[in-house]
């Protein structure tokens, strides 16, 4: 076994353990952190496949941003862990069945000599994955690229339409309004005639 396969098996083992921790951890925050580890080792595996750009993107976007969102959601929901985990192991037989089926499937599919395609030729050391992607995305795949922007736009609209709400009766102050205020808006000078003492007592 050469060094590359050794590294591959090391990362794969970490990935599997991290994946197991995601589903079995008692604390959802621990699950989320295990998922970070899984993403990270996944990125390392992609590095081994010479997909550098995707690996970096995985770390930047998933570990950097998506997981933060996951943690927010976990903290927002205030999950009752005991209740959530009740009956967790009841699903084991079904889950095991699905897992075994998936495994058999993967084996049948992957055992078939790389789908009958020629293996990719090794790339020279100065080969840049990012560059190759860039040459394709913005020219040949411009249609898919612009569609990606539209999907992001829909996500923005959906996120705002579903979560933004104005709370009535909030007491925050608008700084712009504060700066614009003039003396005349706040203080009004009124000239009152001096009143006599008896008159005040009668009023009282």
């Amino acid at each position: 076994m050469d060094f590359t396969s050794l590294v591959f098996y090391l990362f794969s083992a970490i990935l599997v353990v991290a994946g197991l921790r995601v589903v079995t951890a008692r604390n959802p925050v621990h699950s989320a952190l295990a998922l970070v580890l899984a993403f990270f080792t996944g990125a390392c595996l992609w590095m081994l496949l010479e997909a550098e750009f995707l690996a970096i993107t995985l770390v930047l976007v998933y570990v950097g941003a998506v997981m933060v969102l996951f943690l927010f959601v976990v903290m927002m929901l205030d999950i009752n862990i005991e209740e959530m985990r009740r009956g967790f192991w009841d699903y084991l037989p079904l889950a095991a069945l699905v897992a075994v089926l998936m495994a058999i499937e993967m084996i049948t599919v992957l055992a078939g000599e790389r789908f009958g395609l020629a293996p990719p030729s090794p790339k020279p050391a100065d080969y840049s994955n990012t560059r190759e992607l860039g040459l394709l995305i913005y020219t040949d795949y411009v249609y898919a690229f612009e569609l990606a922007a539209v999907i992001l736009l829909v996500a923005i609209v959906a996120a705002i339409a579903l979560t933004l709400r104005r709370r009535p009766g909030r007491k925050s102050v608008d700084p712009a309004e504060q700066v614009k205020v003039r003396r005349a808006d706040r203080v009004r000078l009124v000239s009152l005639k001096p009143q006599k003492a008896e008159a005040r007592e009668e009023e009282a």
Partner: protein, 118 residues
């Protein structure tokens, strides 16, 4: 191919060492005499009132998701920057349109007040 990553490995090792060594040093060198009072949680001298894990406002979520969307947008800028010289005006314009679509989203969220923190 893996040799190319030797500097990265070195970087990771040094980074790990810098993080781990002070913790180890603290653990080894500092005196440690715990008792139950020292280890119990406290809140400014009072007994703890409630669980420290409180609910987050949904507003954080909105900010986070908007961040992710623009983070993804930036991920598309890297390969573009690498090949800008080769893809010509067409590649440039396709990125301009991409950004224009997202600017619509940005204008929308700004006008809606989603960026304000009441």
């Amino acid at each position: 191919m893996l040799e190319n990553y030797f500097p990265v490995l070195l970087f990771i090792l040094v980074g790990l060492a810098i993080g781990v060594i002070p913790m180890l040093a603290g653990w080894l060198l500092a005196p440690s005499r715990p008792d139950s009072e020292k280890l119990s949680p406290y809140e400014c001298g009072f007994e703890a009132f409630e669980d420290a894990r409180m609910k987050f406002d949904v507003r954080y979520y909105l900010v986070a998701i908007l961040f992710i969307l623009f983070d993804l947008e930036i991920a598309f800028l890297f390969p573009w920057a690498v090949v800008l010289g080769e893809i010509g005006l067409f590649g440039f314009v396709s990125m301009v349109i991409f950004l224009a679509i997202l600017v619509v989203g940005f204008a929308y969220e700004w006008m809606k007040g989603a960026l304000e923190w009441e």
